[in-house]
C-alpha cells in the first residue's frame, strides 16, 4: 500500500471491459489533443549547463599566447585516472614549461582535481561536452589543442558559497 499499489475493490463480476476501454481511450485522446511534450530537440535546443559543469579540458594562456603551465607536475600527480602526460622542459632563463602536455579525454573521469591543484590556474575543466572522434587516439588532446579550446571554464565548488549563489 505504501508504494501506491492500486487494489481492485469491487468484485470482478461487476467490472466492465468495454467501459474501462472507453475510459482509456478518453485518456489517450486527451494526451493526443493536448500533449505536454517535454522532449528537448537536442541539436537545435540545448539545455543550459551548470556553472560547475566539468567537461572538456582547456589550457589558459598568457597575453603573449603561451600556455600558463609551468610544468610543476602537480596535475599528473593528483590525477586519479592517470590520464595526464607531462614532460617538463626548461628554457635558457630557467623558466620551466611543458615540452609535452597531453590529456587522454577517454581515460579522464572529469573529477576536476587538476584544476583545483594547479598553482598557475592554467589547466581547467570546461563547460563543454560534445566530444566525438573516429579513433581512441583522437581523444588524446595535446597542448596545442588544449590551448585552442574556447568554451567557458568550470567554476569550482567554493566552500564559502556551497550552493553557488
Amino acid at each position: 500500500m505504501a508504494i501506491g499499489i492500486k487494489v481492485l475493490d469491487r468484485p470482478i463480476d461487476q467490472s466492465s471491459y468495454v467501459r474501462a476501454t472507453l475510459k482509456g481511450m478518453v485518456l489517450t485522446a486527451k494526451h493526443l489533443l493536448n500533449p505536454q511534450k517535454v522532449t528537448t530537440q537536442y541539436p537545435e535546443q540545448k539545455k543550459s549547463l551548470s556553472p560547475r559543469w566539468r567537461g572538456t579540458h582547456r589550457m589558459l594562456t598568457t597575453e603573449d599566447g603561451k600556455a600558463k603551465c609551468v610544468a610543476c607536475g602537480l596535475c599528473p600527480t593528483v590525477c586519479p585516472a592517470n590520464c595526464i602526460k607531462l614532460v617538463p622542459g626548461e628554457d635558457e632563463k630557467g623558466n620551466r614549461y611543458p615540452l609535452v602536455f597531453e590529456i587522454d579525454e577517454f581515460r579522464c573521469i572529469f573529477c576536476g582535481y587538476c584544476q583545483e591543484v594547479c598553482p598557475e590556474e592554467a589547466i581547467h575543466v570546461g563547460r563543454h561536452y560534445e566530444n566525438a572522434e573516429y579513433s581512441r587516439q583522437g581523444f588524446v588532446y595535446d597542448l596545442e589543442r588544449l590551448t585552442a579550446q574556447t568554451h567557458p571554464v568550470c567554476e569550482m565548488w567554493d566552500p564559502a558559497d556551497p550552493k553557488g549563489e
Partner: protein
C-alpha cells in the same frame, strides 16, 4: 471473357446501360492504376501516421527529421530497407520463405477490387462504376480472399524453421480462424437487410435507409473486434507478441521482405477499414441528395472524398486503440472469440432475423422510416443489454480468481501450521 465480363457487369447493375468492352477495359485499367498508386502511397504514409499518433499519445514528437515534419520518413525507411542485406536462415525452406511475404500482401490488395469507393461517374461513353470489379458475389469474394491472408503468416512462421516464428504462425492461424467465424456471422444481418451480397447493393440499401451502424450496432461491434483480430493489431497482436516471441512470424525476415509484412499489415488495416465503412457506415454514401441519380462528376468526387474520410477515421481508430489497450493473454483471446463473440453473433442473427421477418409480416416496407426506426429502437435495447449486463466480468477472464471462503480458511490454517512447525524447529 468479354462476354462474361459484360454479363457480370449487367448482373451487378442491371438498370444501367453497359459500357462497351473497350471502355470497360480502359476504365478498369485507369481505375487500377490510380487506386493502386493511391493505396501504396497511403500505406506508406500510414506507417508515418502510426508513429506520429503513438508519439502524440505518449507526449513525444515522433519522427520529425526527414523532410518537413518528418513527411519523408516513409521514403527514407523504404530506401533503408532496399539497401539492407536480405538474410536467409540456413535451415529455412527458401521458396516458401520468399513466397510468404507476397502471400501476406497480395490478398490485402485483392480485396480492394470489389469495394465501391464512390458514386458512379457519368462519362461520354456511359456510366462507369467506381469500383474496379463490380462482382455480384462481392462479399463472398472478400470472405474468401481475406482468409487467404493467414497463409502468408503461417508460411512465414513455418518456412523460417525457428521455434518463435512457428509459434507466431500457429497463433496467427488459430486466431484468424476463430475470428473469421464471428466476423462472417456478424455480417449476416447486414446481408439479410440488403437481400444481396453485392457490395454496391449493400451501399445503396444503406443510402436509401438507415446506415447499418444505427440499425445493427451489435453486429458492428462484433465485426470491429473481429477485424482487429483478423489484421493482427493490438490488442490482438499475438502472432507478433514481441515480449514473448521475439517478433513472431517475421523474426527471421530482414530488409524488404520484412518491410512487405509491414506493408501487408497496413494494407490489411486499410481493407478492413474500407469494409467496415462499406458494410456499416454507408460506404460512399453522403446523407441527403448526394446518393441518388442523376450522377455528376461533382457527386463522384464528393462521395469519394467522404469515403476516404470515413476510412481514414477507422484507420485512426485502429491506431487509437493500439496505443490505448494492452495485449490480451492468449487464452483470453480464444475465450473471447469462441465463448463470447460466436454465441453473441449467433443469437444476434436469430434476433435480427425474427425482427426483420416480423416487420415484413406486419407489412412495414423495407427502407421506410418505420422500418428503420423500429430496428433502431430494438438496437438500443440490445446494446444496453450487451454493454450494461452481459459485459460485466464476462468479456475478459481475469488473471486471478477469487478463492472460495472454505479454501481460503484451509490455506490459512496450513500456513499457520507450517510457521508453527518452523518456530518449533528453531
Amino acid at each position: 471473357m468479354t462476354i462474361l465480363g459484360n454479363a457480370l457487369l449487367q448482373i451487378a447493375s442491371p438498370q444501367l446501360p453497359p459500357p462497351s468492352n473497350v471502355v470497360f477495359f480502359v476504365a478498369t485499367v485507369i481505375k487500377i492504376v490510380v487506386l493502386f498508386s493511391l493505396y501504396m502511397v497511403g500505406v506508406a504514409l500510414l506507417t508515418l501516421a502510426e508513429r506520429k499518433v503513438s508519439a502524440w499519445i505518449q507526449d513525444r514528437h515522433g519522427p520529425n527529421r526527414v523532410g518537413p515534419g518528418g513527411l519523408l520518413q516513409p521514403a527514407a525507411d523504404g530506401l533503408k530497407n532496399i539497401m539492407k542485406e536480405e538474410t536467409y536462415p540456413d535451415a529455412a525452406n527458401i521458396p516458401l520463405f520468399v513466397l510468404a511475404p507476397i502471400m501476406a500482401f497480395v490478398p490485402a490488395m485483392l480485396t480492394w477490387c470489389v469495394i465501391p469507393f464512390a458514386a458512379p461517374l457519368p462519362t461520354r461513353w456511359g456510366l462507369i462504376d467506381m469500383v474496379i470489379a463490380p462482382l455480384p458475389i462481392g462479399y463472398l469474394f472478400i470472405l474468401a480472399i481475406s482468409s487467404l491472408g493467414v497463409y502468408g503468416i503461417v508460411l512465414a512462421g513455418w518456412s523460417s524453421n525457428n521455434k518463435y516464428a512457428l509459434l507466431g504462425g500457429l497463433r496467427a492461424s488459430a486466431q484468424m480462424v476463430s475470428y473469421e467465424i464471428a466476423m462472417g456471422m456478424a455480417t449476416i444481418p447486414v446481408l439479410l437487410l440488403a437481400g444481396n451480397v453485392a457490395l454496391n447493393d449493400i451501399v445503396l440499401q444503406q443510402a436509401h435507409g438507415l446506415w447499418n451502424v444505427l440499425g445493427l450496432t451489435v453486429a458492428f461491434f462484433i465485426f470491429l473486434v473481429a477485424a482487429f483480430a483478423e489484421t493482427n493489431r493490438l490488442p490482438f497482436d499475438m502472432p507478433e507478441a514481441e515480449s514473448e516471441l521475439v517478433a513472431g512470424y517475421h523474426s527471421e525476415y530482414s530488409a524488404m521482405k520484412f518491410s512487405m509484412f509491414f506493408i501487408a499489415e497496413y494494407a490489411n488495416m486499410v481493407t478492413a477499414s474500407a469494409l467496415m465503412v462499406t458494410l456499416f457506415f454507408g460506404g460512399w454514401d453522403i446523407p441527403g441528395q448526394w446518393d441518388v441519380a442523376p450522377w455528376s462528376v461533382l457527386k463522384t468526387f464528393a462521395t469519394g472524398g467522404f469515403f476516404l474520410f470515413k476510412v481514414l477515421f477507422f484507420l485512426f481508430f485502429y491506431m487509437w486503440i493500439r496505443w490505448t489497450l494492452p495485449r490480451f493473454r492468449y487464452d483470453q483471446l480464444m475465450a473471447l472469440g469462441w465463448k463470447f463473440m460466436l454465441p453473441l453473433s449467433l443469437s444476434y442473427i436469430v434476433v435480427m432475423a425474427s425482427a426483420i421477418l416480423g416487420l415484413d409480416a406486419a407489412g412495414v416496407a423495407r427502407g421506410s422510416w418505420a422500418f428503420g426506426l423500429s430496428l433502431l429502437a430494438l438496437n438500443v435495447v440490445l446494446v444496453a443489454i450487451l454493454f450494461l449486463f452481459i459485459d460485466r466480468g464476462r468479456l475478459i477472464s481475469p488473471a486471478y480468481s477469487r478463492l472460495d471462503k472454505r479454501n481460503l480458511d484451509t490455506l490459512r490454517a496450513a500456513a499457520a501450521e507450517s510457521s508453527l512447525m518452523r518456530e518449533g524447529r528453531d
